[in-house]
Symmetry: C2
Subunit: 278 residues, 2 copies
């Protein structure tokens, strides 16, 4: 059996996958793109040696990245998705009928093309007429908008590497400025098991900019550390409360999962004070 | 760098760990025992090629196996711990001052000895005067007790292999018979990501025997599948409600974690009906 050894320098456990077939390999302008077939997870998209999505379990990440904020906002119409070239995040966003416009900002157009070819069930909405694709740096794009965006979603690769510019205080400030007064923002922020200092750092940076900052988590089998966090911020509304009934079709997200996903308050305080003992 | 490749035939991802040092290897009467040193997790206990505990993160599993039921019970005095030769489960049980007697039933005394030698912070309570160690089959031991046990805790290796006898309807019946009218029972039941059919099977078997059956989960980094489940049952009291204030010293368990850990009701129903789409 051919094996794929994940290459994540920040994970203390290395994940190894069986490879039934190597379907595609390309060195794009930004990263190494690899598509493999695995007997359990189906097709897998790997960027610079790190698993991004698998056919079998991609919905955990995409649904939990998108739907909490989309339901905490009273009426999300204009959305920016930064990264997420596979299209899974865009697919979840356009499920919401309130949405009129999605700016889909992916720096590497080769990822979008690879996903269209190998992951049609994930990339299925990138050609939706409400979606405008721009292949550019998301940090640059947010500077071009002022006060008209309802939700900004960052769906990047890990915080290290060229995605770093999406986790600076300056970027968070520019995100805030592009949002309406009811605007919201969400980004991945790594694992509570392995990278809790990074989680705290992202939270603290967001708090310098936004009046409301929160944290929720989901369990994702194919991201090392698994106990994956999503850092979110808001200018006006609580992110824990749901403003609209859940009518979109989902596999894992629901109103009860929304409420369960947010960190309990004392636990959150202990995390932020560096008092979690691992 | 020397590597340890975990050998779990039921996990679709293989976990690989760096080995700073191989500290101990022995073929006991029942299994292969291995102790390694890892740069991140510290010492690791491995049985038949599967990671059982690591110094760094063992408390996630031990606290979440023990404390939910110990707090759902009004006054747990007599407890049976089956398996858990490392002693971590016993350590958590004897933190409760209500406890008068712990029957610690581990089939493989070599595991207890290995833990005492290499994991003193885990095995620290196995010589507590309330603890009676018996090196025998736990399924046999429960048959010897009738109606005087408050809580039975199964802390076994995976459901496959020689631990199989701890997951039969017959065993659950014998557990019920050894419990008082207020008695409770908890056992690991594998991963919601990778083994949800097994979770459902354990739940269904328990429901044949007990009037109250429930399910909670915790995220454990070093067990493949990570989204680890605990199946629990009770003769009288709800398992979701806490009967006594949390005064024991813990790293992860708390009243709010207790409530968050149980599966939300609709989600649980979907699991049991086979309607979860992964």
């Amino acid at each position: 059996m051919i094996k794929f050894f994940e290459k994540d320098p920040y994970a203390p456990i290395q994940y190894v996958y069986d490879v039934s077939e190597v379907l595609y390999q390309k060195k794009s302008k930004f990263q190494d793109i690899l598509v493999i077939q695995n007997p359990y997870f189906g097709k897998m998209l790997i960027l610079d040696g790190v698993v991004q999505i698998t056919e079998r379990d991609e919905f955990f990440y995409h649904e939990m990245l998108v739907h909490p904020l989309m339901h905490a906002h009273p009426s999300p119409q204009n959305v920016i998705v930064i990264g997420g070239g596979d299209g899974g995040t865009v697919r979840e966003v356009v499920k919401h009928e309130t949405v009129k416009k999605v700016f889909f900002i992916e720096i590497d157009e080769d990822v979008i093309e690879t996903s269209k070819r190998f992951f049609p069930s994930v990339a299925c909405s990138v050609d939706d007429k409400r979606v405008e694709i721009k292949c550019m740096d998301g940090a640059e794009f947010v500077k071009s908008r002022q006060g008209d965006i309802d939700i900004v979603i960052v769906d990047s690769t890990d915080i290290i590497g060229f995605a770093k510019s999406l986790f600076t205080v300056e970027f968070f400030k520019n995100v805030k400025d592009c949002l309406t007064d009811e605007g919201m923002f969400v980004t991945l922020s790594e694992s509570l098991h392995f990278h809790k200092e990074m989680v705290v750092e992202v939270q603290e940076s967001m708090k310098l900019i936004f009046p409301i900052v929160d944290l929720y988590s989901a369990n994702i089998a194919t991201y090392a550390g698994n106990w994956w966090t999503f850092s979110c911020a808001s200018k006006k509304h609580s992110l824990r409360d749901i403003k609209r009934p859940v009518t979109v079709d989902t596999k894992i997200y629901s109103e009860e999962i929304h409420h369960q996903a947010f960190l309990p308050k004392t636990f959150y305080e202990r995390l932020m004070k560096g008092k979690l003992a691992w």
